[in-house]
Symmetry: C2
Amino acid sequence: MSQGNIAVPTAAQDEACPINEVLDHIGGKWSIGIIVAAAAGPIRFTELERAIEGISRRMLTLNLRKLERDGLLVRTVYPTVPPKVEYRLTPIARELGDSFATLTAWAERHRHAIAAARRKYDGQPGRPAGGQNL
Amino acid sequence: MSQGNIAVPTAAQDEACPINEVLDHIGGKWSIGIIVAAAAGPIRFTELERAIEGISRRMLTLNLRKLERDGLLVRTVYPTVPPKVEYRLTPIARELGDSFATLTAWAERHRHAIAAARRKYDGQPGRPAGGQNL
């Protein structure tokens, strides 16, 4: 079967970020959560922390910095006491909104089926156990 | 600002896979490439290897196994000599096609802007260097 017409992510031919790497950055579990949470408008660190259940302060900080570095998030510090820090999506990141909402809905819809598939897979003889390293 | 109405991925309340974890599995750079490459129909290991530039045999094997375990990919072995092995998407995985095509196109469109944003970020004084650990 020819794969010639399929838009598969490929390694970069130039100095721009490889598509694979870009997808890896934006596709991570926390990035998606942050972008979805910030889609409605500027949002503060503590609001993000509450909105994204299970994220640690450290992971939130690292992921915010990563998204800021990628030009997907703008961090604004207001010189109040204490300083107020807000994050908002850039226009590039706002384009991801619909796709991420679709993905999140997909995950919600199918997470039970996925859990069942894993239990079935792990229960088969001759399978690598548990998939912990996958 | 209230985040009450936003569909942010949250930790699981039950035994199903948490949305975060599901998104992490399907959102990885290689998973997206594999699912996009397999979208057109059954595909063989060597065809996937060629279609996804930069993937190693080991990473392809691990990611195929992960997607099979999640119930997103079916592996069929035909008893020929040598055995022919084909992978095809399950109906659940086929639902991801449009979102992933959109994401891949987004990454292609903006990878130069993202690379430029990183260079700018890394060039600023007082920034954590390089972002290698992000």
